[in-house]
């Protein structure tokens, strides 16, 4: 294996890890405030990517064709509409089931994911085919020997990092973040202290879903293609990443995201090398198998959820 190929793998792994981490941060935020898993998260990401694409087509139609303006408007529209969708999901599907068994919340959001996925497949024009996603970032590249660094990938990586850091700062440094952390720690006491519980929950869901929309756009810009099925796999991977890291912990989510992409890259590189003849397509099989084994070892993830169960 040459240096160039290796660094290509590493860079690709970092890129995927960033997208996974963004999805996982959403899962962790929702779990933090409400102790629920919103499984439709991956599909919200997919709908976000499709909203971005539709906005792009709309902008082309009305004649705005400066890539930067297009990109900004797309990001704004996709993020805001997904934030709204996330808040609506929280209000009408997740909060009403707060007193039901936690499994029901998982189920209802799983089913909502199917509704979103099938909705895009059936009602988006030719939704069942993969859609080309526009290249809006500058496509300059710098060559380091056999490794070429593409400017667009670099921008995406930095944008993802900026988004995660921004969310982290909001949560740790602002009054709003304090309220979110208070609700996460103890909803009852937070209410007594005068925090508007429902508003904070809706806002957290909005932030997480907005992040998912960003992740969806990044995914589209990186691969230049989206299809209705990406959400399911990205959702499961994001969920696994959040669980590996430890649900409810934002550092855990980031760590989990990069670990999962490392596992995939390892599977793609190491499996064919160790067992000649196996295809790199086994990388997902390998990664998920490791996740299952890992869960048997550390059931609550690397950075364990702090909890005490009252009986």
């Amino acid at each position: 294996m040459t240096f160039g190929l290796l660094s290509q793998y590493v860079f690709n792994g970092l890129m995927l890890g960033m997208i996974y981490a963004m999805v996982a941060v959403g899962f962790t935020l929702f779990f933090g405030v409400l102790d629920v898993i919103k499984f439709s998260h991956g599909d919200v990401l997919m709908v976000g990517a499709f909203t971005g694409l539709a906005t792009y087509i709309g902008l082309q139609a009305i004649g705005i064709d400066a890539p930067l303006a297009q990109l900004l408007i797309m990001t704004l529209v996709a993020t805001l509409s997904m934030a709204l969708l996330g808040a609506l999901i929280a209000k009408y599907l997740v909060l009403p089931l707060r007193l039901a068994p936690p499994l029901n919340t998982l189920l209802i959001t799983l089913m909502l994911g199917s509704v979103l996925r099938e909705g895009v497949r059936l009602f988006y024009p030719q939704g069942s085919n993969p859609k080309p996603f526009p290249r809006l970032l500058p496509d300059d590249s710098i060559a380091f020997g056999s490794f070429t660094l593409r400017a667009d990938s670099m921008i995406l990586l930095l944008a993802g990092l900026a988004a995660i850091v921004a969310v982290h700062l909001v949560i740790t440094r602002t009054k709003l973040g304090l309220a979110i952390r208070a609700v996460a720690q103890d909803a009852e006491t937070a209410r007594i202290m005068g925090i508007n519980f429902e508003f904070i929950v809706l806002l957290t869901f909005a932030i997480g879903s907005g992040m998912a929309a960003l992740g969806g756009l990044m995914n589209g810009l990186y691969y230049n293609e989206i299809n209705f099925g990406i959400g399911l796999l990205l959702g499961v991977i994001g969920f696994s990443a959040a669980v590996i890291g430890g649900l409810g912990n934002i550092y855990g989510a980031i760590l989990g995201g990069f670990l999962f992409s490392a596992l995939q890259s390892l599977g793609a590189v190491a499996l064919p090398a160790l067992f000649p003849g196996t295809s790199t397509a086994y990388k997902d099989v390998f990664a998920f198998a490791v996740v299952i084994v890992f869960m048997a070892w550390r059931p609550t993830g690397l950075i364990a959820e702090k909890k005490s169960e009252r009986v």
Partner: protein, 385 residues
Amino acid sequence: MKRLLSAQSAFPALASMAALTLFAVLFLHAESQTAVMGLTAGAIVVMLLLARFGWNALAASSFAGHSSQAHAAVILGVLAVMAAFYDSHFPLLMLASVLLYVVVCLGLNLQFGYAGVVNFAGAAFFGIGCYTSAVLTNHTPLPHVLVMFIGGLMAAGIGSLLILPVLRTYGHYAALITIAFGILFRVFLEVNDTLGGPQGIKVPGMEIMGWKLNDGVQIGGIELSFYVNYVLLALAMAAVAFMLVRRLERSWIGLNLDAVRLDETACAAFGIDVARWKIAAFTLGNFLAGLAGSVYAMMTGFVAPNSFTFGDSLILVSIVILGGIGNPWGLTVATAIVLILPEKLQFIQEYRLLLYAALVILILLFKPDGLMPRQVRNYLPGWKP
């Protein structure tokens, strides 16, 4: 007349079964889309009216009071539907599929409804059975009855690899393990060339001690469709599985399983071995799924990874929820509705996953116990205060 229509008489249950059988024959017979829609709408209206006049409760208590007659009536009903379509392949294939899926859902019900072990990989365990029978029938001379049981054992065996992580985790974490397994299984099938890759493999028809199930049957000069064989086999399997699950539910084992689901801590404090019952329910449930899968593969003659997607697992879970978690009769009815309706109403075929998902969301929001909620345990059957 008055005595006939009381809950003590077997008449309400038997009459309901007869009406249901007649409806099933009419529904499967209907060809045009308008006829099918008319029948569906009619059935909904009639069901609502009957519920309004208290017939359903009457039939249910009559059913519970005369369970042996009622069970015989159900089996006779299935046989009657089979006889009505003795020479047409498609309705019989549908009937046999419904019966096999009932076996799968009974397995899920055992895990999900009784022991509270979540399993979002139902289609994967069904698929393990399918692929086991495909490989064994193609490459070994093993008798097919044995293959059928090996299919079940394989599903239970591969499922047991998940036992440790499933036991060590709970709630969302456990759900993730089965979801990850389901996706892993499907990806594995797609990339594995020896198992046929995305194209899948052909499976020969079943043969039990010289009785070739894929040959048509002739009785007194009347040619029967070969699916009659499979309907009979599937009916026998469904009846045995049903009996098994009902007996388990009513025994001390069922009581333990219910206790494990409702409160693990209290259970452990009372000396009930939580891990043992979870393992038992998970393994037996997967065995049933694999068993049904291996017969299903031999019946349809073809297996491909596309039949075992995460969506299919979700449909299985929807069936258990729609029927009323923990209620075997409810899930039987739900299986029939979920499998047959999209086949007959072609225009919803494309939208079926969307429709079921939306339906399950509505049920979880407004009627979380399902269409036919599980009855409270009755310790002395037939006893009236």
